[in-house]
Amino acid sequence: MAVMQRIKKPTTRKGKKVLLSKEPKPVEGPKQCIFLQGRNPSDRARKVLRDIYDLKKPDAAFLNRKNDFVPFEDATLIEKICYKKEAALFGVSSHSKKRPHNVILGRTFNYGVLDMIELGAENFKAMSEFHNMKVLAGLKPCLLFNGPAWDLNQDLKRLKSLFTDFFYREKVETIRLQGLEHVLSFTATDDGNIFVRSYRILLKKSGQRTPRVELEEIGPSIDFKLRRTRLASDDLIREACRVPRELKPITKKNISKDAFGSKMGRIHMGKQDINRLQTRKMKGLKKSAEEKKEMLLKKKIAKKEAKAQAINSQ
């Protein structure tokens, strides 16, 4: 499915407004997310999704109904629901003997599935099992990606981007220093284990301006195992990552900065005519009346020739 130009006109003003709001925009808001239940999800898988939903909350919807479908075989249902709910991210929980406690996280582009990554929740401790104060909903969390595996493995590289997409929320210009409360830590090992931990930041005095950071685990704590993946082709990713022209910074030509930070400009000059250069005025160098007359005549002839040439060339 793709964004289509409608043929039928909207009949009501409100309908028109809704359709306009669904049109692609240069700057997009926070990505909406839907959480679905697959065929017979286990309690653990469902709770994992529920906790991710709690972390993502203002921009997410949790759909309780079970759906008899397998996303890796047929993703049309996801595309349909994403179209209906205007969502770009999705999570599906399922459970089978072959793949116990399965959680599929993915994202869409232009209402078609872009990436889909399957994770098995091997260990899980829910948010409710940590008896302490949680963070406010809708906070922008700090994201930590630990371990060299994030950059080495192609699947994990995409998973890193996917996790960032899930918890990035929105581009902000400014952030309140006291609002930095939440940390999500993703640690990947070489054998495909991903440990997701969530902490609350406690800012302590350090005797300096920058505070000392202490962390308190607030949950959820999930140990994921990487399973199947379906990644988008590089072409599609490039298409999806395109920056609209309005947002591209306008480069100013011929302006540069040197090592000391001073601004340098380059100016293009025409060729200088040395003959007409005004030097020191002296009586001896002054032109006589005859010389002046001659010069004028020369100029006239030159002008005439130029005109004739122009006509010829036409």
Binding site: N146, G147, T164, K171, S185, K205, C241
Partner: protein
Amino acid sequence: MDIVNDILEREQKKAEKYKPIVVEKHLELEFDVGTLLTSDTNDLDSKLIKSDQERDIYLQSLARDNTQLLLNKIWELPTERIDEAIVVRLPQPTTVLPRAKPVPKPKPLTKWQEFAKAKGITKTKKSKLEWDEQLQKWVPLYGFRKAAAEKEKNWLIPVPQNLDPMTDMYEKKATEKSEKVAKNELQRLKNIARARKVKIPRVGLPITSDKASSTQLATATSVAKASTASLGKFQDKLPKEKEARGKGVHELIPGKERKRKLPVPTPAAEKEQNLSMIDRILRKRPKIDMEKAVSKHINEEQLQRSEEKKSMKPMKGRGKPKGKGNATNFSAKKPKGGKGQRNPSKKNPGRKRR
């Protein structure tokens, strides 16, 4: 000196009271402060991460160190005060995330917009209300209360003299209006098709309520003739029939694709092209139809001969050659027939004797 030492000692004690904010790392971390993201590429302690008891403590200490480093970076940024809250201005994020929908394309222009742009026609704003002299009140241009005003205004419509006196002028007006709406809708659809580059079937002739003009009829016949499976190849022609010509007619006739000329690359090439065309025209010689020329020539000769004969006849009558008294020009002698000698090389091999 005692005082100085005292102060230094006190300061040291104070520093000992607080835990440090500096973290040592083997490899430098990568920060994306704009997205509040840190990636730590240092090797993990495999022993600690595999043991179930110590893993959580290790992960927490790792997370603490990395968070400390990230917050150190953030606290370095310039701060502002907005509504009694201290905020920092974040730099541009460096991580590129895919969009949810493709980058919006500029809306394609409609045919009218294109034309207006080419001609430099700008939209003039009309006032929403206009003073109606007949009704003596302000009437809206469209929408609410326009229809009522129109109804009030047209309580009576005279039938023009050239029309049937029984025509319902209200009905006529309504059909005209609905036709206008339909035409507008058709044009809107055409614009959409053009924007999507979809080929749409030809509508053919424009629907007119009045009689069709001769050019329209000619076009219609041409189109109808070409609308067979073989594109009108085997269709007979009427005597004096002409193919329809004019702007846009060619496109209507099926099977007639217009060949576009390539644009002229340079002015010099254009000049050469034009000169060669003039040359071609000036060099033209009349075409010679050999058969026609020959028959014409023969005809001329015959005419000349007959003229000669006519002019010769009176001469004949006046001065007859003396020896030939016979008017019919018959000789009394019998035909000799080759005198009995057969000559096979001759066309007439002579009389056969028995």
